[in-house]
Amino acid sequence: MSQGISPLADALVSCSNARRDTSRSAMPTYKLTYFDLRGRAEPSRLLFAVAGVEYEDVRIQREQWPNEKASGKYPFGQMPVLEVDGQVIAQSIAIARYLANEFGLAGKTNLEKAKVDMIVDAIGDVSKGLGEMWFANDEAKKAEAKEKCLTKTIPTTFTGLEKILMTNNGGDGFFVGDSLTMADLIFLAHTDYHVDQLKEENTMAAFPKLTALRERILAQPSVKQWVEARPKTKI
């Protein structure tokens, strides 16, 4: 980097380089481990993508999982886990919230963060309902779960979400505050699955602001880039 202008200038340049090097090595190393699916890891992957932060995106194949699990490194015998500078964090939303807080994508005040959390948990209720439908072990239970989703869980929750969205700048921005947060990204990850599972029922049609929000999030350059680049998986 030396310009040979003067020894002082050279010293200043190499000092500021050293500071940059220090801050680069102070940046944590992140390793996210999950199945080769979007699933419960996708909120975190979207957060890394939007923040522009590097991480190791480890994908465990189904056949490898029993051995992995037996290694004892998974606090609850489940994935995803995030390893950051030697610490292990489990539980997908805890991981996502950690990353969101680190990258300024969690909301700016405690109140905004609470609104983000509220939206995330509400979306979680719908995910849970869809999960009950997907994983039901007999046709009767499946039909019952689907009925509950379509008549109760989705209308109630999405009505609430549409209203909350509309209280924020008329609903033409993001869920909370003036910029993208974890709430929007988790909404995106959820609706990828939701829209696919309930294609015929077209449940999003009743919620124009939420539909537009989904498109708006997908159009964000960092999101678009990740969605195009990521491995294509069914769920």
Binding site: P75, Q91, I93, A94, R97, Y98, N110, K115, M118, D121
Partner: protein
């Protein structure tokens, strides 16, 4: 200090952890309790869903704001009053444990309250007692022990949302398995006593209304 108004059902359920956090913080709040019988009519007073955002309880109202979703509310109170963990990493560990306790106890709600088929219920309970519960408690005991030997709290040096969530919800886990189930998890057992002995929490436990319907079948 804003005036906080918590609205929930009469029993402990998903509201109690919030009440305990206010108590631990020494912060006054209006503790509104609704019976299951009165809840439908109460919902109808809010057709625009300005209060009951997701048609559910609990909600927390203060300074013209409304929050829904029990964990979001609890975490807000915890963050406001210093019970959430001190760094982002500590907060993540707190959240992780809260989620794990939720995972351990919430299937009880589905399978005690909502499951009508007796055979399915029995089968699930066997799995709960023999597999699911031991697995959860083993994992929690290990995490607690990893924090300086396990004779303090789950995260850091002081009581957090994680400890309070565990101490409150574990009663339901014990009730649906056996009274001495915690004997196999000595650090967790001691943690529960430690949390309940904290002066402001002990005071709340002593004075709170006794309302075990729904919770304990």
């Amino acid at each position: 200090m804003p005036k906080y108004k918590l609205t929930y059902l009469v029993f402990r359920g998903r509201g109690e952890v919030i009440r305990l956090l206010f108590a631990a913080a020494g912060v006054e709040f209006e503790d509104v309790r609704v019976t299951l019988k009165d809840w439908p009519a109460m919902k109808e007073t809010d057709p625009e869903r300005k209060r009951f955002l997701f048609n559910q309880l609990p909600i927390l109202e203060f300074d013209g704001h409304v929050l829904a979703q029990s964990h979001a509310i609890a975490r807000y109170v915890a963050n406001e009053f210093g019970f959430a963990g001190n760094t982002n990493l500590e907060k993540a560990k707190v959240d992780m444990i809260v989620s794990a306790v939720e995972d351990a106890y919430s299937p009880l709600v589905t399978n005690v309250w909502y499951e009508k088929d007796k055979a399915r219920k029995e089968a699930w309970f066997t799995e709960f007692r023999e597999t699911l519960l031991p697995k959860s408690l083993t994992a929690l005991e290990k995490l607690l022990t990893a924090n300086g030997g396990g004779d303090g709290f789950f995260v850091g040096d002081s009581v957090t949302f994680a400890d309070i969530m565990f101490a409150d919800r574990v009663d339901l886990l014990v009730f649906h398995s056996s009274p001495d189930v915690l004997d196999g998890y000595p650090k967790l057992k001691a943690l529960k006593s430690r949390v309940e002995a904290l002066p402001k929490i002990a005071e709340w436990i002593k004075k709170r209304p006794y309302a075990p319907d729904f919770e304990f079948h």
